[in-house]
């Protein structure tokens, strides 16, 4: 589906006409990311991150496939094979640093993408399915990133795998057998490393498939926009190509400038020195911390320190998973008729002065050692996190009076729009 004024694909010559009859792939691309997809004309730079996320996924797959040609998934030689890539494989250091930092930057981009969705309530009807698929992609990404971090078989790889699979042992009765089943043994070893490698190779393609569904679902209602007012007429939109291809191209350039600065000049800044020590089951690192992109969730996991009906550990595990799973319900928890946070005075206050500081505290505490005052701060922030999504959002969205919305996107941009008169056709003839 698209708007009636969307441009139609016209095969230019005999060959493309022939292709269009047999397999209309050029038509699909034209309608998906070409001139055939009308997009609101008022998108700001927060709308760049979807394309950037797609770029990151492709880059991770390309660098990952090359790394897989040289990596050996065996507990005896995995660490050495990574060093072989770093030292002996032509441009191997570039592939590995691009892949390792690429994972971090993929999360940077995805977090900004999610932030956009939360602030502008992109998850609201009619875009619930896009949001739900997005949360699925995020969960798949977390699983993929976690298993990828295990592959170098350094100290943090090993102990990270041990801690995270150990979470399942919190489940009553069947917890321990589940952990043993997941690892293929009583501790991470060859069986675990091999299955993590297999899944780490598989899941990115599952993500790619889900991304296709995500974009498909997007093209039914079309992109949201910063005013949250739906597209009304042709003057509200511009064709994706060339307007947003060129804007995304510029955004990609800015992204690569920052990304390359890390890859070439600070390649280990986001990593952990302990992972350059080969895995040693007999020596526990002083502080086991996950990669920075898991810190907020790790803080929620560790915030539950008191047994209350069920064990503290089980509370932590449930809360950590719940902290993401509740996102699935967002379209139904937030009942405000207005999308954009720009026009929601009360929501905006809770978002900027409640939710964002809580998230920042969780981020800092997740990377800090498990000691006071970090524990008590993460407990306060955890409480707010759940209150924000499950209590504040439903109540605030029901009681606040939104500010006046612009009549249309065109009016928001140009300060004037010819309001349609009853009976007049605003859409130009197709």
């Amino acid at each position: 589906m698209s708007f009636p004024w969307a441009k139609q694909y016209q095969p230019a010559n005999g060959f493309t006409k022939w292709i269009d009859e047999k397999l209309p792939l050029p038509r699909l691309v034209y309608n998906a990311v070409g001139a055939g997809y009308p997009v609101p004309r008022n998108l700001n730079y927060m709308w760049n991150f979807g394309v950037l996320a797609g770029f990151c996924l492709m880059m991770q797959i390309v660098t990952g496939v090359v790394l897989a040609m040289h990596y050996a998934a065996n507990a005896q030689v995995a660490f050495a094979s990574v060093e072989h890539i770093m030292r002996d494989v032509n441009w191997g250091w570039l592939m590995r640093y691009a892949h390792a930092n690429g994972a971090s930057f993929f999360f940077v981009v995805i977090y900004l993408h999610i932030f956009r969705g939360l602030f502008y309530s992109s998850y609201k009807a009619p875009r619930e399915m896009i949001w739900i698929l997005g949360v699925v992609i995020f969960l798949l990404m977390m699983a993929t990133a976690f298993m990828g971090y295990v592959l170098p078989w350094g100290q943090m790889s090993f102990w990270g795998a041990k801690v995270i699979t150990g979470l399942f042992s919190a489940i009553p009765l069947v917890g321990e057998p589940i952990q043993v089943w997941l690892l293929g043994g009583y501790a991470p070893d060859n069986a675990a490393l091999n299955r993590f490698y297999s899944l780490h190779f598989l899941l990115p393609f599952v993500i790619a498939g889900t991304v296709i569904l995500h974009i498909w679902a997007l093209h039914i209602p079309g992109s949201s926009n910063p005013t949250g007012v739906e597209v009304k007429s042709e003057s509200d939109t511009v064709p994706f190509h060339p307007y947003y291809t060129v804007k995304d191209g510029f955004g990609l350039g800015i992204f690569l400038l920052v990304f390359f600065t890390f890859v070439f000049f600070l390649p280990n800044f986001l990593g952990h020195p302990d992972n350059y020590i080969p895995a040693n089951p007999l020596s526990t690192p002083a502080h086991i911390v996950p990669e920075w992109y898991f810190w907020p969730f790790y803080a929620i996991l560790r915030a539950f320190t008191t047994d209350f009906i069920i064990s503290a550990k089980l509370w932590g595990v449930i809360a950590m998973f719940a902290s993401i799973l509740i996102w699935f319900l967002l379209p139904w928890l937030d009942r405000s008729p207005v999308r954009s946070g720009h026009y929601r005075p009360l929501f905006r206050k809770f978002f900027w002065f409640g939710f964002m500081p809580a998230l920042l505290v969780l981020f800092i505490c997740g990377g800090a050692p498990a000691e006071q005052p970090y524990i008590m701060l993460s407990q306060l922030a955890t409480a707010y996190y759940f209150l924000h999504f499950l209590v504040i959002l439903p109540i605030v969205s029901a009681m606040e009076t939104p500010e006046e919305l612009p009549y249309s996107i065109t009016q928001a941009v140009l300060h004037s729009d010819k309001k349609p008169v009853l009976g007049e056709n605003t859409s130009p003839a197709v």
Partner: protein
């Protein structure tokens, strides 16, 4: 219904977190944790200057050669360098013939071609630096139960590793007179002891390290280029050498980075200009008025 249940669940999670908070804060307030000697007297690495630091850094080959000599004559007695091959020494400025001769100075594990028994043979450029011990048990036995770590990645495996290595090597001192900001370790922690077989070093995380001071006197290593081999100089040089050993491609990486950044910057400027041109017709004409929230 969804909202009603979620409000209930949200209050539930928040309540349990707050119960944990109250109990935790009460415990923290009533039983203050005592600061340990490790917490108070552990030192962060000092800042040493190296030629390869910064985005325009270069290896100083003469420095690396001196550092290699320190490794060979001092460190190699206990520490291996398993990921570095003799052929890699070309990075230090040695010729092919020099590397061949140098490799032959080392005995590497081999197999007797006649009997098939394990033996040793002189190294060749393709061999890797041999481990000083046949296995971990032997390493433990010879070192008071502490395995000397392999040094191939040591500067990447420690926070601020290059400075840490140089600081550690120059950091051995007497615990009885050691002080920070006028606070004497002996006074603050009278019970602090250096166990038998360990050595006091405030740059080590537990303050007591199994390694005996390896660099003890000026001139311990005789440098070929006539540089005076002070403890500080030797520490500096070997830290530089180990940084190269941990990441031989570092300079290549930084130089590639400038080319990559230059290309991307050029492409980004072009993309920006293209964007401005393409968007000009649909932008509001009067730029003085601020668009309403967009």
């Amino acid at each position: 219904m969804v909202r009603l249940i979620s409000i209930f669940v949200g209050i539930g999670f928040a309540f349990v977190a707050m119960v944990a908070f109250v109990i935790g804060v009460y415990g923290w307030a009533t039983e203050p944790t005592e600061k340990t000697a490790e917490y108070t007297f552990h030192l962060y690495p000092r800042d040493f200057q190296f030629s390869f630091e910064g985005p325009f850094g270069r290896w100083d080959q003469v420095e690396l050669q001196r550092g290699y000599k320190v490794y060979k004559e001092v460190c190699a007695a206990c520490h291996g360098l398993e990921f570095v091959a003799f052929r890699n020494l070309a990075d230090l400025g040695y010729s092919e013939a020099q590397i061949k001769a140098e490799a032959a100075n080392w005995q590497v594990p081999g197999i007797d071609p006649v009997t098939g028994e394990a033996t040793t043979r002189p190294g060749t450029p393709t061999d890797y630096f041999p481990s000083p011990y046949p296995n971990d048990v032997a390493a433990r036995a010879a070192n008071n139960n502490a395995i000397p770590p392999d040094l191939s990645l040591i500067t990447k495996a420690r926070p601020n590793g290059t400075d840490y290595t140089a600081s550690l090597l120059t950091g051995y001192t007497d615990p009885n007179t050691f002080q920070i900001d006028g606070k004497l370790l002996r006074q603050e922690f009278p019970d602090f002891t250096v166990p038998e077989g360990l050595h006091f070093n405030p740059y080590f995380h537990s303050l007591n390290i199994a390694m005996a001071p390896p660099l003890t006197s000026t001139g311990q290593v005789t440098y070929d280029d006539g540089t005076e081999a002070t403890i500080r100089q030797m520490s500096h040089d070997v830290a530089a050498f180990l940084t190269w050993a941990a990441e031989p491609k570092m300079i290549e990486r930084k130089q590639t980075g400038w080319a990559a950044l230059g290309f991307v910057l050029f492409a980004t400027v072009l993309a920006y200009l293209a964007k401005q041109q393409i968007w000009a017709p649909v932008k509001p004409k009067n730029r003085k008025t601020k668009p309403n929230a967009s």
